[in-house]
């Protein structure tokens, strides 16, 4: 059974297929409005995430399908001690496809190993968040017209930021990608990502704590939030949360066609004064995320023979 647990589960050609489908949905939404009639998506969210959950639900509704599920662990059987494996087996009897978010890393993989329907990883702790990466890829593609030959800056929490790890993984398979890593010392990209992904794929990268000095090089600036829930120690969170705040003044030396992305939600790392700047793409990114989730649901249901 085909699932999406890690962005690398899909080939570059398959990612392009999803992008093409999403673009077609954007152009002709009416021809997709009944594609999932009678099919059910189960959103199993063991950790709250309103935005991702609603994106999945909106995606399924716009395909003409239905949605069942829960929004937090305490309203699920996990509160009674049920294992992820058993939950996946049970939900397979009710739904056609699962979108799962879980605070523990690897939980969606366990679900996929036990479910008889496709499983989509909607975020597992600090590990992977492949559908956010799908949103990021479509945004970059629509803004730049390509996914290769780009200089991509990642700024903020690069240590715990799973969206950063997933996007770096995805971009590592395209030609001519250069990566710029901007973070405080304590939140640097883990060495295994640098070694196993960047170095292993001969992706040139630089690390810096100074956003201003690298700004002119960037085609894409991917901002991230310092996430309170990833810290064991509140003091560390408070010390690091305001490390990088993007303001209009800080864009003085940026390219005219820079694209600013953010997986959202933001706290204060992008000033609201930037929202009206044509380079701000983070709200378009949310919209594109829904279209990519629609494309993904269609692909997985089709491969499972359910549509």
């Amino acid at each position: 059974m085909r699932s999406l647990i890690d962005i690398l589960d899909f080939s570059v050609d398959e990612l392009q297929e999803l992008i093409d489908t999403a673009n077609d949905i954007i152009a002709h939404p009416e021809s997709y409005s009944e594609r999932c009639r009678g099919r059910k998506l189960a959103t199993l969210f063991f950790e709250p995430s309103t935005r991702t959950r609603l994106s999945f639900e909106a995606a399924m509704y716009e395909l003409g399908g239905n949605v069942i599920g829960f929004a937090e662990a305490k309203s699920s059987s996990a509160a009674k001690g049920e294992s992820v494996a058993d939950t996946a087996r049970v939900i397979s009897c009710y739904a056609d496809i699962i979108a799962m978010r879980h605070p523990k890393e690897g939980a969606p993989l366990v679900a996929a190993m036990n479910a008889s329907i496709p499983v989509i990883n909607a975020g597992d702790g600090g590990h992977n968040h492949p559908t956010q990466t799908l949103a990021d890829l479509l945004t970059i593609y629509r803004e730049k017209g390509r996914l290769d030959h780009l200089t991509v800056g990642f700024c903020g929490d690069l240590k715990f930021g799973r969206t950063v790890h997933s996007l770096i993984n995805a971009l590592s398979r395209y030609e001519g990608i250069k990566v710029v890593l901007i973070s405080p010392e304590e939140l640097k990209l883990p060495s295994y990502v640098k070694k196993d992904v960047l170095a292993a794929n001969n992706i040139p990268y630089v690390q810096t704590t100074d956003l201003e000095s690298v700004m002119p090089e960037l085609d894409i600036l991917y901002m991230t939030r310092v996430q309170r829930e990833r810290f064991f120690n509140e003091e560390d969170y408070l010390r690091l949360k305001d490390s990088y705040i993007l303001t209009p003044e800080r864009l003085w030396n940026a390219k005219e066609d820079l694209s600013i992305l953010h997986p959202l939600p933001r706290v204060n790392e992008i000033s609201v004064a930037i929202d009206d700047d044509p380079r701000a793409c983070y709200f378009k990114q949310v919209l594109y995320g829904k279209y990519m989730r629609m494309a993904l649901i269609l692909k997985l249901l089709k491969e499972a023979g359910r549509i």
Binding site: S83, H102, K104, E105, G106, V110, G125
Partner: protein, 138 residues
Amino acid sequence: MNIDSIQNGIVIDHITAGQGMRLYDLLGLEKLDCSVAIIKNVVSGKMGKKDIIKIDSGIHVNFDVIGYVDPGATVNIIRDGKLVEKRTIDMPETLTNVIFCKNPRCITSTEQELKHVVKLTDRKNKVYRCLYCETKAN
């Protein structure tokens, strides 16, 4: 030093010097009540120094553990005092319930019945990672 030859059992040879005790632990050899010898820092023409483990029993040994700890080690099967089989052990693609993930954020930390599986992700550098959370295992 004199270690008796074994009649029926296993000799794990060409172990990288210093890895003998780790292999002894991971193979669970402390649970055996037969004779087990760990010979450390044996002079070797090819390796300079090596460790050897001799097990005086025809027990089943998990070859994957040997391949995980020290690929290139050789296993000699002895029957009636004679060498009947000699094999070099390669790295296994996966290893189950031998290495336990220590990442507190991993699903294995809360779901006790899950098998702990590590998979080979980088053969050149002998890197294994947890199947679930991808934390480096070695």
